[in-house]
């Protein structure tokens, strides 16, 4: 009996020390998890986050172990996030706005796990937020669109009337207007982030209304495909409808139609944060990078773009990256004519984050 007892004690001791040793073993790979709102697929929002995950694997090799789960509905995500935390994941990236509250709830229960929430505005000691200044890319697109349009009508396919989307519309419009005072924007709201059929309908409607350049803040390649189709059977020297790649480059979907693109490039940020987590220097912060860090990457320009236009767009891109040009620099009035920014004044991040108004010159109302 006594022997049994001491045997038991010895086992318990071994187990305990073994446990401690395993914990203090610093060679364990850092577990990094990613939660995607859509299927990964071949392009678009979730695909770009997946590219970031692959870049992390590439960079750190055996020092990291990554997991991911795709198509997690925003309204039912808390369970999945918690499951990931429970599995001992050290750093979790939740990559859609709707994960904000669930991420914060789980983070409260797992204070030793680090969380990174994309596009949100609420942080905690172990919850960072990060997003991209994609509106900087819209400025570049606006310059290209303003120059390349012949009908002076630019079509814009918008998803939901949230600040992110409205910011993009305003930045595009201001840039296009600055190079072409006659430019007019037609905006179609499709109430979806990804619906090829609806996006195609919107593109066709915009083309019917005279738009010859289409911009989109939705994820599918349908508008690009529609624009590309207008290039079929054209004579030498004629041009069809132009469009821009969104989130991914989309080059292969519109070899003629694609003017340029905004590419979401999360790799630099993900590598930086994983490194910080490994070094023990990770802290809750708010990261909002743009062209400067490559989070907003501008895709190659179409060959049809005249050299001086390309140079102008490139110059704007470089000035934004260098911090010399802010896309929202006054004087800018709101749609109703009231003054928003005085001469030389630039918009602060708070206003940009909550933007819910059009700038002067854009017609129509933001849907409610």
């Amino acid at each position: 009996m006594k022997l049994l007892k001491s045997l038991g004690l010895a086992t318990a001791l071994t187990l305990a020390t073994g446990g401690v040793m395993a914990e203090s073993h610093s060679e364990d790979p850092l577990k990094v998890g990613f939660i995607y709102v859509g299927p990964i697929g071949d392009f678009g929002w979730s695909y770009q986050h997946e590219q970031g995950r692959l870049a992390v694997e590439e960079e750190f090799g055996d020092a990291v172990e990554t997991t991911y789960i795709e198509s997690v509905p925003e309204g039912d995500s808390e369970r999945v996030i918690r499951r990931m935390a429970q599995d001992g994941t050290d750093l979790i990236f939740t990559t859609s706005f709707g994960y904000m509250t669930p991420t914060l709830r789980v983070a409260e229960q797992f204070p030793d796990t680090m969380f990174e929430h994309a596009t949100g505005y609420q942080r905690a000691d172990n919850v960072s937020t990060y997003s991209g200044r994609f509106y900087e890319g819209r400025t570049v697109q606006g310059i290209l669109a303003g120059h390349m349009t012949e009908s002076n009508v630019i079509g814009y396919i918008a998803s939901f009337p949230i600040p992110e989307v409205i910011r993009g519309i305003n930045a595009s419009y201001l840039a296009a207007k600055s190079v072409n005072p006659d430019v007019e924007f037609k905006i179609v709201w499709v109430s979806t982030w990804f619906d090829p059929a609806k996006e195609a309908d919107a593109a066709n409607a915009l083309i019917e209304q005279g738009a010859d350049v289409i911009m989109q803040h939705t994820d599918s390649t349908a508008p690009m495909t529609i624009a590309e189709a207008t290039w079929d059977g054209l004579e030498q020297g004629e041009t069809g409808i132009y469009a821009f790649g969104q989130a991914s480059d989309m080059m292969e979907f519109g070899p003629n139609a694609r003017l340029s693109s905004i590419i979401d490039n999360w790799a630099p940020y993900y590598i930086e944060r994983v490194q910080a987590a490994m070094d023990g220097t990770w802290e809750s912060a708010d990261a909002w990078h743009g062209i400067d860090q490559g989070t907003t990457t501008i895709g190659a320009f179409n060959e049809n773009i005249p050299e001086d236009v390309a140079a102008e767009a490139t110059a704007a891109m470089e000035a934004i990256a260098a911090g010399e040009l802010h896309p929202f620099t006054g004087p800018i009035n709101k749609q109703d004519g009231s003054v928003w920014l005085e001469e030389g004044e630039t918009a602060d991040d708070g206003t940009l984050l909550g933007m819910n108004f059009y700038v002067e010159g854009i017609e129509g109302a933001i849907p409610n």
Binding site: T67, I69, E70, P73, G75, R79, V80, T101, P163, N368
Partner: protein, 362 residues
């Protein structure tokens, strides 16, 4: 030669046996699918079907996920038995969530024990109202309730978007389309500390209420005259009329009941796991519940089991994605297989398989 022979009466053994057969068939076919994808089929099936039951945390989540399905399906089963096809439970779910949330937000910050009951009443009333539209149009103008109730789902969804972008939008939320978080009195209490539940359980009071409603619905259906009238109405409408059952009141009762329960489920979701009104709230529970109702043979106890099985495939599927890196699409195919086998094998309830030549008539 194999042929199907009609049974004289539906087989009771098969009625409860085919779901089990279907699960086994799904395991075999799914195992082949996973093997082709290069995964260990036994491990994959185990992860999907067994792990969620053994893991206490996943077990809690089974109930959280199944509760709205069971609640809605029970409501629907009454109508389905009477031949009244409410396909729009999703819409009733949404308006229930909106109404309940609106009440909760109207009393924002008020610590009150009566607030949750009031929200529940508002949710049920809104769901009932939404279901009364197809009921009225059916009784008065003989409009098809399948179409009307389905169309109202899209109206409800637009209404939800308008509400979160407008009157119910969080004033401090940077104009994002969602409401503020409810205060404590407007959130369903969690059943923490109940035996069998984990420390961080998300099982809330609504789950308990859904479980309590299961036997109540069974009694109503089997022992109460209303349940009898509903069943007669479904199987022999003319006989029902002769025995004094008014078809129009059955239409109102069945649609009203399913609307009320769907609205209550919506309120439970918004005041439970969500804790705020968000545009992503509807998960298609109202549609999935139709499947759950039929899987459960329109019987409240069967519906409870069917709801849990449905929840199991969701949660097991997520675990398989995380643990085994199975692609999401493969999980969806697997879930589709389960439904296919469940519905396909139903033929055995009314037919039997005969081998060899046709025998003499019995």
């Amino acid at each position: 030669m194999i042929r199907l022979e009609p049974r004289l009466a539906p087989s009771r053994t098969m009625m409860w046996g085919t779901p089990v057969l279907a699960v086994i068939a799904t395991m075999i076919a799914g195992g082949i699918l996973f093997a082709i994808l290069g995964k260990n089929p036994v491990e994959a099936i185990w992860t999907i079907f067994v792990d969620p039951i053994l893991d206490p945390y996943s077990r809690d989540e089974l109930f959280v996920k199944a509760a709205p399905l069971v609640l809605i399906a029970i409501g629907l089963s009454f109508g389905f038995r009477a031949g009244i096809w409410n396909i729009g439970a999703e819409g009733q779910f949404i308006v229930g969530a909106i109404a309940g949330a609106a009440v909760g937000l109207a009393f924002y910050g008020t610590p009150a024990i009566w607030l949750l009951p009031l929200m529940a009443l508002a949710g049920m009333a809104a769901g009932t109202f939404w279901a009364m539209i197809p009921a009225f149009l059916k009784v008065r103008y003989n409009a098809n309730e399948i179409l009307v109730s389905l169309m109202l789902v899209y109206v409800a969804d637009q209404l939800l978007r308008a509400m979160v972008a407008g009157p119910l939008r969080n004033p401090a939320g940077f104009n994002f389309p969602e409401s503020r978080l409810f205060h404590d009195s407007a959130v369903l209490p969690l059943l923490q500390g109940m035996p069998g539940l984990t420390q961080y359980t998300r099982v809330h009071l609504g789950v308990l209420i859904a479980l309590i409603l299961v036997p109540l619905a069974w009694v109503l259906l089997r022992k109460h005259v209303l349940g009898f009238n509903i069943q007669v109405m479904g199987s022999a409408p003319r006989a029902a009329r002769f025995s004094g059952v008014r078809p129009s009141s059955i239409v109102y009762i069945c649609l009203g009941l399913s609307g009320a329960l769907a609205g209550l489920a919506g309120l439970f979701e918004v005041a439970g796991p969500a804790g705020q009104l968000v545009p992503a709230l509807p998960q298609g529970y109202g549609f999935t519940a139709i499947i759950v109702a039929f899987l459960g043979r329109l019987n409240p106890l069967g519906i409870l089991a069917a709801g849990l099985v449905m929840a199991l495939t969701y949660i097991g599927g997520e675990n398989a994605q995380l643990d085994l890196n199975l692609p999401r699409a493969a999980i969806s195919v697997f879930q589709g297989m389960l439904l296919f086998f469940l519905l396909g094998l139903d033929i055995l309830v009314r037919y039997r398989i005969r081998f060899g030549a046709r025998g003499i008539a019995q």
